[in-house]
Symmetry: C2
């Protein structure tokens, strides 16, 4: 069992938002923590995102509440008032200020929270904060994920525990990503925020399931400080390790996914160009269907690179493409190589590596294949 | 039967590139024509695109040659030499200069033309230019299109005939689009080029099947002048009508498509913003699968609009979303409306209209639903 770090406890419950599975989670610290948060950039950001962005602006949080199966998006002023009512009630119950509560929601768009049920639950004089098992906590924020997602690392005397949900959908509506991190390390707010941004950029911001961006994506971290100071370089490495492990779980559990697709671009002009090219490849429906069909179709990878039409320094004559360890362009694969390659493509892990031969920029992104399962999950549903 | 305009004749043949269907077409004029061409912006542009871009730079063409089932992309210096050898041979056969020949190819990437077969065919002292039927010409440039695509219009004493192939795939490799227009109207080169650019921007550049961009996309027009001068405003309207008809045929015939999806964005800041938002919607896999499942899931449309995160003037509180004539956001649909809407969504034509309430920009794009058929066509193939 992975336990939450020192100083954190969780309350897990079913408040009847949709069915009888757990749909309400609060992870609380004994006192205010140093915190950082990153949110969707959507122009249709949900009420939870708006409230939480405000809450984390002062780099301090004492609790995070997650409501599942209702996104509270496109719900107007009533939705905003409901989000604030929930965070105020949770603040009262954990003995914190309302502005120290982060809220994250995921689920159907355009429907109000079932406030009578939420009010009934939150009107108790106290709630049991009896869960320290990270897996039980992760299970309670799941929607259509096929398994709970937990990862942890130890850095010096401190522990980092991360949980995530996604990228299964809810109802099926949207592949919302929520990922929350807890640590007992003591860190300066500015150091934690900068580090969190760097780590998320190379992990959760590098995962693509279907190019669609949720209105509710939320990533946040709380550091209780109970375990005292840590070496920040080591801590960042540990945080990266935890975030990457969760990212890979999310990509593998993508809607209808049967394979993890990793795309690395090396020797780009800079990291931004490497990321742009890698995303063009990992998001290409033609590349994703080829990977699903175990077809080492490098022509589609060339096509996807070619889509970066503003990158005038990309020269088709200098590009190298590999599937796994096997170069497929410009060198051509012989028959023996092709047999080995076809076998490689049937595995659960497919790596596509591109070298642009320009400069030192590098980036890796994570995604999955595109299957009939994806279409069926997303089409066989009527509002 | 739609005939090619005065002054044009076609040669159609099988040279055995892949099977026994026609794979080689030359449409030639009696003398050099005023011409314009637009090509893919891919960084992996094919040899045909490179040669043709040079040829049309002087706004003059005398013939267009289309080779099917081999893209001549990523074939290096040998591929470039082959493309030039073909255009030189065609020039000799039609009595034109090599630089007045446009070449377009579509098919497998990374394989050389079967030059012995092409040389054998092109070494005849003359080739029969015995086809004037536009449909027979359009059929000969098809790959996996389910039907030939022809449209025509009459403007004054002149005729405009357009043919197109796509967006079925070849082999399945790439949804290459080739669309060629012929007219006997007399037009100034600069006038024709500017007009052609405006028309293609609102038609073929507004179609999206799967966000993937071919290495070989080619649109070109030749004006023989035989019918004399025309009113240019009327001519542009006629050209737009022909190009739009072909665009809708292409979108409807998209890989695995069962529905034509039209997305119109009104009252945007400008046309560019309207196009950006419309493309975000028409390309969203979650919107496309919802349309496939006949689900009026406006939450996914809101999500797709929200993806335009740099458009800070888009205000979720001011946006209106319609499916067909029915507003679905912010007004909610009642039960009677929902029944009508569900019926509407089962039809072959689905319109999604968005009003951004900013200014006067407007744009319409055309696409299709995302079906299991798309995945099967693109995955069930091994190189």
């Amino acid at each position: 069992m992975t336990s939450l770090p020192q100083g954190f406890r969780a309350h897990v419950a079913n408040v009847g938002i949709k069915d009888d599975t757990d749909d309400f989670v609060v992870i609380a610290a004994d006192r205010p923590c140093v915190a950082a948060g990153l949110f969707t950039k959507s122009r249709f950001s949900g009420c939870s995102v708006i409230v939480s962005r405000e809450a984390v602006a002062n780099q301090r949080l004492q609790a995070m509440v997650v409501i599942s199966k209702n996104a509270n998006v496109a719900t107007g002023t009533e939705g905003m008032a409901n989000a604030r009512e929930v965070t105020e009630a949770v603040a009262r119950l954990v003995g914190a200020e309302a502005n120290d509560i982060l809220i994250a929601s995921t689920g159907v768009i355009g429907r109000q929270y079932p406030m009578p049920a939420l009010r009934a639950h939150l009107s108790s004089p106290s709630l049991p904060f009896d869960v320290v098992d990270a897996e039980a906590t992760a299970r309670a924020i799941m929607t259509t994920d096929t398994h709970p997602k937990v990862a942890s690392a130890t850095v010096g005397t401190s522990t980092i525990v991360g949980i995530a949900k996604g990228v299964g959908m809810i109802e099926p509506d949207m592949a919302t990503l929520i990922t929350l991190f807890f640590t007992d390390a003591a860190l300066e707010p500015a150091v934690l925020e900068a580090m969190f941004r760097r780590v998320i950029d190379r992990t959760f911001n590098a995962v693509s399931i279907d190019t669609d961006t949720s209105t509710s994506d939320t990533a946040a971290i709380m550091a209780s400080g109970v375990a005292g100071p840590v070496d920040t370089t080591e801590f960042e490495a540990g945080l990266y390790e935890v975030a990457l492990a969760l990212t890979l779980m999310v990509a593998r559990d993508g809607e209808g996914a049967t394979k993890l697709l990793t795309v690395t671009v090396n020797h780009a002009r800079d990291g931004a160009q490497a990321k742009r090219v890698a995303k063009a490849i990992v998001n290409s429906p033609l590349v994703k269907t080829a990977v699903h069909g175990a077809d080492p179709n490098w022509g589609r990878v060339a096509m996807a690179i070619g889509k970066c039409s503003d990158d005038h320094d990309i020269d088709a004559e200098k590009v190298t493409i590999r599937f796994g360890d096997q170069e497929v362009y410009p060198s051509r694969v012989n028959d023996a190589g092709l047999a080995a390659l076809s076998h490689y493509m049937t595995g659960e892990n497919v790596l596509i590596a591109v070298d642009l031969a320009i400069a030192e920029g590098t980036f890796t992104v994570y995604g999955c294949d595109l299957s009939d399962g994806y279409v069926r999950i997303n089409a066989d549903y009527t509002t």
